[in-house]
Each structure stands twice: as C-alpha cells, then as structure tokens.
C-alpha cells in the first residue's frame, strides 16, 4: 500500500545513523532564553458572505466583522542550545507566533519573556535592491544593530558564508531568489544573536548552502544560543532541529523531540494529502491527546497535589471520531 510504504520510508530516513549522529542535541540543563505564557493573538477581519440573499437587508448584512484567533493560547519554555522547529500547515499560526515571540507584534493577551532581544531573520527589509551585495552587507549589518566597526569586522565572514563570489559587487536586484536568501541569511548570522528566529528562509538555498548554513547555526548553538525555525517541511525540521513544536489552528498539538514530532506530523500531512481526512483527523487527535498529557503532567507538578483530582478535558469525554487503535498507526514502522 502506498501509505504504508511512505510511512516506512519516513521512519527509515529519520533513524538512519548518519543523520542521527549529525543532528544537534540540546544540553539537558541550560539557562532559559524564551518563556511564552498563554499567548493569544486575535485579528478582527471583515468577512463577506458569498451566498447572496434577496432583499436590501440581507445585502446590507453581507459583510460582518469577525474575530479570528491566529494564536490561541501557546505556552512553552526554551533553553539556550535548543534548536526548535515550529511545524504546521499553512495558516496554523506559525509565523504569527514567531513574530510575537520576536516582540514585533504585540499579543492580544499573554506574555513573552526573553533573555535577549530576538533577531528575526528578516534582514531583507532593510536591504536596497539598487545597491551591490557588498553595500547591502554593510547596511544590513547596521540594521541588525552592529556598530560600523563590528560591521567591518564581520564583512569577510558574511561574504564567505553567502558564497556569492564575484556577484557580491553586483546590484542586489540582479540576484536570483536563492542568492538573495543566502546573502540575507549570512547577514543575519553576522550579529551572532543569542536568539535567532528563521521563517522558511532556508528553503530557497541549494544543498551546498544548506550544509554551510547548518554548520553556521551549530556554531551559534554551541555558543549557547537558541534558534527557532518555522517550516512546513517536516524533513528540514527533522534534519536540523533538536525539538519540534507542532501547531494546528493556533494551538500547540505536540511539543517534543524533533524526530518524533516531525515524523508524526509528516504521517498526518501525508494522509491529508492522500485525501484520507478521517485518518488524518484521528492522528491529529492522538497527537493532541499526547500533547495534553504532557501539559497536564507539568501543570499538576506546578499546582501541587491539591488539584490532582482534576480530570483533563480530553479524559472526561473521548473526542468525537476517535477510536481505539489509532495510536499504533503513528508509531508502527
């Protein structure tokens, strides 16, 4: 069966020894860098009803303002040395969460605490297409907060990491999207930020660049930094990250070891792509339940024994559409 073999491949890939050996492993105890508590981001948007009613009144009522939750209650803690992948489908709130963590967007409620100013890999916003790559390296380095002296010192390293060669002296508007992505990634690492956040930036680079950028990020992690990587490609997360957070509809489904979470997400996404929606939903519920159990363990620990009798919501009533035996699907090779 197609689904079976895909699952088997996924499992085989993630357990192959060389990949396992290369993957960054976070230290057990290290200082906290990012703490998020019950983050919520809501947007108010205008919704237009497509079905046309007759009469003036219904026509007037066609547009209404509705509130959309992009991030709906996300809590987690991150430590230095962790390489955290945020995974999920389009529109699951990954990028909004990242922007909120970076402090660029204020949450509707909830709090983010950080040990340093996070740097979101978005340096392209400061770059000017008319300038050459080299001029943009200088400009970008100043934009992310380096002094002119530091920018000069970092210049050679940035040019080397970007691997643009002679193209560094051409105007940036002549660059391909991959070249531009390499340059902006290289500039962002120049600041050697304590907390780096990357939003789908690595997908445009070629294989050689992926390897080099991974090395650069490993160095950053060794210097006790924290890296967040948002991607909908489970493979990237599995290969590079130590921990993964699976998001769906603005909530954390599962938070744990990158390989485990990414594999579950991949199996879910695969079933969804195959059109097997009910199976995908079952997998999602299983993962959500596993995530709930993790959180509840922690909460009970936090609150002490007086609330031990409290039953997690999912245990009171089995979720609809959930049947036994699903669980084995997610782990069977």
């Amino acid at each position: 069966m197609a689904t079976r073999s895909a699952e088997a491949t996924a499992a085989a890939e993630s357990t192959s020894p060389d990949e396992q050996g290369e993957r960054w492993v976070a230290p057990e105890h290290s200082p906290l860098t990012v703490v998020a508590r019950d983050l919520k981001v809501r947007y108010t948007v205008k919704r237009t009803n497509r079905t046309r009613g007759s009469g003036a009144l219904s026509r007037l009522r066609r547009t209404q303002k509705i509130s959309v939750g992009a991030v709906r209650g996300v809590s987690f803690t991150a430590r230095s040395g962790e390489f955290i992948g945020i995974i999920g489908r389009n529109g699951s709130g990954k990028s909004t969460l990242l922007r909120t963590l970076a402090g660029l967007e204020a949450p509707s409620s909830g709090t983010v605490l950080t040990s340093a100013n996070p740097s979101l890999l978005g340096v392209n916003a400061a770059l000017l297409p008319e300038l050459t790559g080299a001029q943009n390296v200088k400009l970008g380095a100043l934009a992310i907060g380096l002094t002119p002296e530091q920018a000069d010192a970092a210049f050679d390293g940035v040019v080397e990491l970007s691997a643009l060669g002679d193209a560094i002296d051409l105007p940036m508007r002549t660059y391909s999207s991959g070249m531009a992505a390499r340059l902006k990634f290289a500039i962002s690492l120049a600041a050697s930020p304590e907390i780096l956040m990357i939003d789908e930036a690595l997908s445009t680079g070629d294989a050689a660049f992926m390897e080099r950028s991974k090395r650069a990020m490993d160095e950053l992690l060794e210097r006790a930094g924290t890296v967040f990587l948002v991607s909908h490609a489970a493979q990237t997360i599995e290969n590079m990250c130590s921990r993964a957070i699976w998001m769906e509809r603005g909530q954390v489904i599962l938070d744990g070891d990158a390989v485990e979470v990414a594999r579950k997400y991949r199996w879910f996404a695969h079933n969804l792509a195959q059109g097997d929606t009910s199976k995908a939903n079952g997998l999602l519920l299983d993962a959500r339940r596993e995530g709930w159990e993790q959180t509840e363990d922690r909460r009970q620990f936090e609150r002490g024994s007086n609330e031990l009798h409290w039953t997690p919501r999912h245990a009171r009533k089995p979720p609809r559409g959930h049947r036994g035996g699903r669980r084995s699907d997610t782990t069977a090779p």
Partner: protein, 298 residues
C-alpha cells in the same frame, strides 16, 4: 489587551518554583522607558545615516535623468507658480522682486509640505522594516526627515543660483548664512509634524487623504506664493497669520535673502516655539504608541 506587566512576576515565581533560574528574563514587545528609548535611538544613528544616504542617491535611478530631477522638480514647481500668480493673476501687490519671492516661498515650503503629506503614511510604508526588526520606531520619521534635509541641500543651492541669475538679481550677503539656523528650526518643525501625523495616520489611515488639502491650504494661507498679509486688514486675521509658523518661516527666509537683514525677534520666537513645542509633543505622542506599530492592521 496588551501584554500585562503585572503577570510577569507571577511567571517568574512559577519558573523559580520549578527550579529554573529566571532572573535574566525580561518582557519583550513592551515600550521601553524614555531614557532607554533615546539611547536605543542614538545607537541606531549609523543605520539611519547610511540608509538615508543610499536612498536619496538611488531614489531616482529608474528615471532617465536620474538625480537631475532633484534639481528639476523644484525648478518646475517654481516656474509654474510664477506663471500663474506672477504673470496671469498678477498677485504681487507691490512686491519688488516677485520672482525671487515665489522661488524662495515655493522651494522652502516643499520640505514642510512633504512632512505633512508623507507623515501619516510613514509607518505603513515602512511596514516591512517594522515587522523585521525591533528598533525604536521613532527612527523612521527621523530617517525620512534626514532624507528630506539631504534633498533640501540641493534645492537650496538651486534656489540661491536662481535668485542670483534671474532679473533684479539678489547678491550674496552675510545674512544669507542665516538660512542655516532657519532651516535647522524648520527641520525640527517638520520632525514634530512627522511624529504627530505618523501615529494619527497609523490609527486613522484616512487622514492621509485630507493631507494634500491641508498642505494646499497652508501653502496659500501662509504667504508662500503671494503676500497674504496684504489681503487682510483686520487685526484678528493679522494675529492669526503672524502666529502661523510657516508664514514666519518663509518670511524669515525672504528677509535674510532678499532684504539682507536679520529677521525680527518676534519671528524667531514664534517659529522656535512651534518647532520645539511640536517636536516634544509629537515625540511623546509617537513614543506612547511604540508597542502598537507592529500589529497587523486590516
């Protein structure tokens, strides 16, 4: 609701209860205190300077004439207003050198009019930058003002050349040096306007629609093109006109450049008070909205 500051100690306590050291953590995305804000702004100066320099140099690169437009635009403006008000309407009311009068008015007002018309859109047009970096957002209006001042250096050079070359030639005098402090005050005024309208325009984007009208009104009402004070005799109108910083501004440029005299103290006081007052009010107003500028607006 904003990220509440009072829950921060609670979170820190609960983290410490779990045996984690949380003393080095601090909230993010909150408006920093004024002293901190100002020092962050100061650290940003290198970027603002380099960014402004390159943007001014490359902004016209898509035009065939390139940066020649920095000279041509104000020239064309002045020529048009001279044709309409000087030749067709004959509105000079006894002004001796009406060509110089219009050139000085139109060219020097351009700078303030740009602040008025572009101020409300400044946060919107820099959205990409705001969503990518955390830096004091006040750097954006400042950066726009610096770019404007860089262009004004060229505009002023064109202006001086024109009033020397055109008939009833004005000749360089020592008082011409006074345009430096007058322009400094004008820049402060512009910056205050930018700060004020940047936040108003962010909250209420519709304001930018009205800005061209306001800018036009100020141009005709401030004696930029014709001597407005000679159209009104009523003391109330005179008082209003004299309290207008833009009227005083163009008046001071003309006194220094055309009469070869030092502008009277009253002009300096009116312009200075407006410039400093608007800057302080505008900056505080802008700073109070700091944490909101990254939010998604729909």
């Amino acid at each position: 609701m904003r990220a509440d500051a009072d829950t921060v100690p609670q979170i820190l306590r609960s983290l410490e209860a779990e045996g984690m050291d949380a003393s080095h953590l601090g909230p993010i995305g909150v408006r920093p205190r004024m002293t901190r804000y100002l020092s962050e702004l100061w650290e940003r100066r290198h970027f603002v300077w380099m960014d402004s320099r390159h943007r001014v140099a490359t902004q016209n690169s898509s035009n065939l004439l390139g940066n020649l437009w920095l000279v041509l635009r104000p020239l064309l403006d002045a020529a048009m207003y001279f044709l309409i008000f000087g030749v067709i309407l004959d509105a000079h009311r006894g002004i001796d050198n009406f060509a110089a009068y219009i050139i000085i008015g139109v060219m020097m007002f351009r700078s303030t009019s740009r602040s008025i018309s572009q101020g409300p859109g400044i946060l919107r047009s820099n959205k990409a930058m705001i969503r990518a970096f955390s830096f004091p957002r006040a750097a954006l209006p400042i950066s726009a003002e610096i770019r404007d001042a860089m262009q004004m250096v060229i505009t002023v050079a064109v202006m001086l050349a024109m009033i020397i070359v055109l008939p009833k030639h004005e000749l360089p005098q020592v008082t011409w040096l006074l345009i430096v402090p007058i322009f400094a005050l004008q820049s402060l005024l512009n910056l205050g306007i930018s700060f004020l309208f940047a936040r108003i325009g962010y909250v209420l984007p519709d304001v930018s629609q009205a800005m061209t009208v306001i800018s036009r009104f100020l141009m005709y009402g401030s004696g930029v093109i014709f001597p407005i004070e000679r159209f009104f005799d009523h003391p109330v109108f005179a008082a209003i006109i004299h309290a207008n910083p833009i009227y005083q501004l163009v008046h001071m440029y003309r006194v220094a450049l055309m009469d070869g005299a030092v502008p009277e103290l009253r002009s300096w006081v009116v312009l200075g008070a407006w410039a400093v007052g608007l800057l302080i009010v505008g900056f505080l107003f802008f700073w109070r909205g700091e944490a909101t500028y990254g939010d998604e607006k729909r």
